[in-house]
């Protein structure tokens, strides 16, 4: 047996471990959120109302759909439907870009109103609202970075699929990129209600 031998289960196992590190990374921000919510319950509600619930909900639906498309892409490649898999990968990337474009408009509006980390206007709204928006921007910002990374990974997969280097026999890269993408979705599943839906 040589070192070149593949271990697809081991590859997936390693990817899951990496995803756990991502969960713990985000958990630091969620711990700060939880403590601050406990300290400033009303102000968090007030701040939450300043966020645009429509942008938030649409982005949630966009990400959930992108999770669907990448999951379908994996099934497609396993069934030998390479072209369909490629289309589904590109759709996922398209939805990711839609998410980021929404975010761009959403944040442009807020920053235009003087709401961003370190702004005097934000500080003037009081400690509770300041903390809310600091954590919101840093968490959503870190999440957006992961959207970019995930979309890039899927882009690489798409190129390799087009070249025939990703196929039913060798789909580990797609599998693991899909896992990463689902994590990006999972973070948003928690981020959305905690920031956008507080009463």
């Amino acid at each position: 047996m040589s070192i070149e031998h593949r271990d697809d289960t081991g590859d997936r196992f390693g990817m899951w471990l990496f995803l756990y590190t991502e969960v713990i990374l985000f958990s630091g921000l969620f711990i700060l959120y939880a403590v601050s919510l406990y300290k400033f319950p009303e102000q968090f509600g007030e701040a939450s109302h300043k966020l645009n619930i429509y942008f938030g909900t649409i982005n949630t639906l966009v990400l959930l759909t992108s999770s669907l498309t990448i999951a379908l892409a994996l099934s497609a490649i396993r069934m030998g439907r390479n072209k369909q898999s490629l289309v589904l990968c590109l759709t996922t990337i398209g939805l990711a870009l839609l998410f980021l474009i929404n975010k761009y408009f959403e944040w442009s509006a807020e920053i235009g109103h003087g709401i961003y980390p370190g702004s005097a206007q934000l500080a003037a709204m009081g400690p509770g609202i300041t903390t809310f928006f600091n954590l919101y921007y840093f968490t959503a910002g870190l999440h957006g970075l992961h959207v970019l990374i995930g979309a890039s990974l899927i882009g690489v997969v798409a190129v390799l699929t087009a070249r025939g280097r990703v196929s039913a026999e060798r789909c580990g890269l797609l599998e693991n990129s899909a896992l990463y993408w689902h994590l990006v979705d999972l973070v948003w599943i928690f981020l959305f209600p905690l920031y956008y839906l507080i009463l």
Partner: protein
């Protein structure tokens, strides 16, 4: 060490799960507009956990993986709970 590839999951399973996720999202938004006091946050977390379970077990194929994968997920969640919980032993009693 030849590995069996997992059988491809039919499209239907994923689409049904996706529809469930859309429904749960709707529920989350609706419930969040009802004044429940402290219960609001727990309701939101409960629904988010349910959505996550669907993504993890169906989309991420954890249902098809070996027991080891599920045990490791549990280990991570326990450690996460400890980090959050023990921090609150400080914050709640200041």
């Amino acid at each position: 060490m030849s590995e069996q590839q997992h059988e491809p999951v039919p499209y239907r399973t994923f689409i049904l799960t996706w529809l469930a996720l859309l429904i749960l999202t709707t529920i989350t938004v609706v419930v969040s507009r009802i004044e429940l006091g402290a219960l609001n946050i727990w309701a939101a977390l409960a629904i988010a956990s349910l959505k996550s379970s669907l993504v993890i077990f169906v989309f991420m194929h954890l249902k098809q993986e070996s027991k080891l994968f599920r045990v490791c997920l549990l280990v991570m969640l326990v450690i996460l709970a400890i980090f959050i919980g023990l921090t609150f032993f400080d914050v709640l009693y200041r």
